[in-house]
Symmetry: C2
Subunit: 269 residues, 2 copies
């Protein structure tokens, strides 16, 4: 059974998010690897080592893969090989994809995750988790041709595209654009201080002070992305949007939504 996939929208304050990740990973017996590769702040790894220790984790280690050549380090690979949870910090997601991509580290993360190791990422770390990663883009609510740049991410799932700092940075338009190119994926717009805990059964549980905006284009009847010119609005008809706060769930497979205070699951397909 694969491990949990946990995108966090940045600006992590609510202790419950880190605590749930630690619980899943074995509680005080968890072995947490922190990967601060996305960050350019030299003490980011140390900061999270202390954060996890403060939450009772005895075994935590920052593995700062700064260059592609670091990704062959036998000791660090061995450490990753026995971790129960991995935490990817914020920064620039292109550092994650361009430094780890195609190296033994990315391979090991995929293999261990398939075996049951959990992987959480905040901000840039959240963007990187999926097969399709938003590398950069423009702000605004209206989808327009060219307003988002996608590339290959870590590849723990190909079903979702994550966008982070979602409400705070007005990113609905770029997430819609990413989905308009191919309405196969489901968009997860994750607000700051909010997480989606996506379990092995493909149910995402929302936890935090903001919301996760689920953008599901599976029922789209019309999408004009192939006809629109660069910069033009993309006509996009039939997109399903769910705004889900803490305690709500969404199943990626069945597309069943269960709002926190609603007794009955809602099916829409």
């Amino acid at each position: 059974m694969r491990g949990w996939i946990i995108p966090i929208g940045g600006k992590l304050c609510t202790p419950a998010i880190l605590e749930r990740f630690i619980d899943l990973s074995g509680g005080s017996a968890a072995r947490i690897a922190v990967i601060p590769t996305a960050s350019s702040e030299p003490d980011m790894g140390t900061y999270y080592e202390r954060e996890f220790q403060r939450h009772g984790v005895r075994t935590v280690k920052a593995l700062n893969f700064e260059r592609r050549t670091d990704c062959d380090d036998a000791d660090w690979l061995e450490w990753l090989g026995t971790a129960t949870g991995v935490f990817l910090t914020g920064g620039n997601q292109l550092k994650l994809s361009s430094i780890l991509g195609g190296t033994p580290v990315a391979k090991l993360l995929r293999v261990r995750h398939a075996e049951g190791m959990h992987i959480a990422g905040t901000s840039a770390g959240a963007a990187y988790l999926s097969e399709h990663m938003i590398a950069s883009g423009s702000e605004g609510a209206t989808p327009r041709v060219g307003m988002v740049n996608l590339c290959a991410g870590l590849g723990l799932t190909n079903r979702i595209i994550v966008d982070q700092h979602f409400r705070q940075r007005d990113r609905l338009g770029r997430l819609l654009t990413a989905l308009a190119y191919n309405p196969f994926c489901v968009g997860f717009g994750v607000d700051e201080d909010t997480a989606a805990f996506i379990g092995p059964d493909e149910t995402a549980e929302i936890l935090g002070t903001g919301a996760v905006t689920i953008v599901d284009p599976s029922q789209v009847q019309y999408c004009a992305v192939a006809e629109a010119a660069p910069g033009e609005t993309i006509d996009f008809v039939g997109v399903q949007v769910h705004v889900l706060g803490t305690g709500s769930t969404f199943n990626l497979h069945s597309r069943v939504v269960t709002p926190a205070a609603h007794a009955v699951p809602l099916t829409y397909r």
Copy 2:
């Protein structure tokens, strides 16, 4: 055993390419589905029906999914369910991804391909085959931030990124840019009238009058994509490039190259 994946670089003239695809699909007993969705020319489906008939295929049918609602057509889905080979025409690859993406057609193509059905695509059809698709980009040999737009493709494999009309449209730069974002994938720059026949054992065999330029970033030591500004050159160190003509092979798993007239396979990793 999965079916063959066959990207063709456009401007298909050499009969051997279509003949090999037909042979793989069962020869005169082949059941070929032509999907002309990428094209805006109304007779593209009929053109390829005749082409396949001219090559001895008795059972060939053009399924022109023009709108997302066409992708629920029970008769066409049933036809696809028994095809032995599928041929995607040229046009605009964003029509393929935005019309077929997330519909029963894309799902069925992936399922049947996993079961052994072969899928060939020329030009836009070639771009669409992989999980990561080049939607558009600029010409030139030098990789620059922002010169390529990627999105989700059909997803028959996540190992390759295909670019087509490769030499004719000077596309090395945009393929390098796509790989610089994440050096996990291998680039296949496919010239016109040239195909890569990628078998279930992950060996690609080149056939045609041009070449396939294989761009393998797995040994890259340094990639500056995260630091470079939009439009700037991306420093990219240690990219392996193989230019392979007809009869040469490349294995995606072992990375062994065998040039056509060379007696011994060449291993470089």
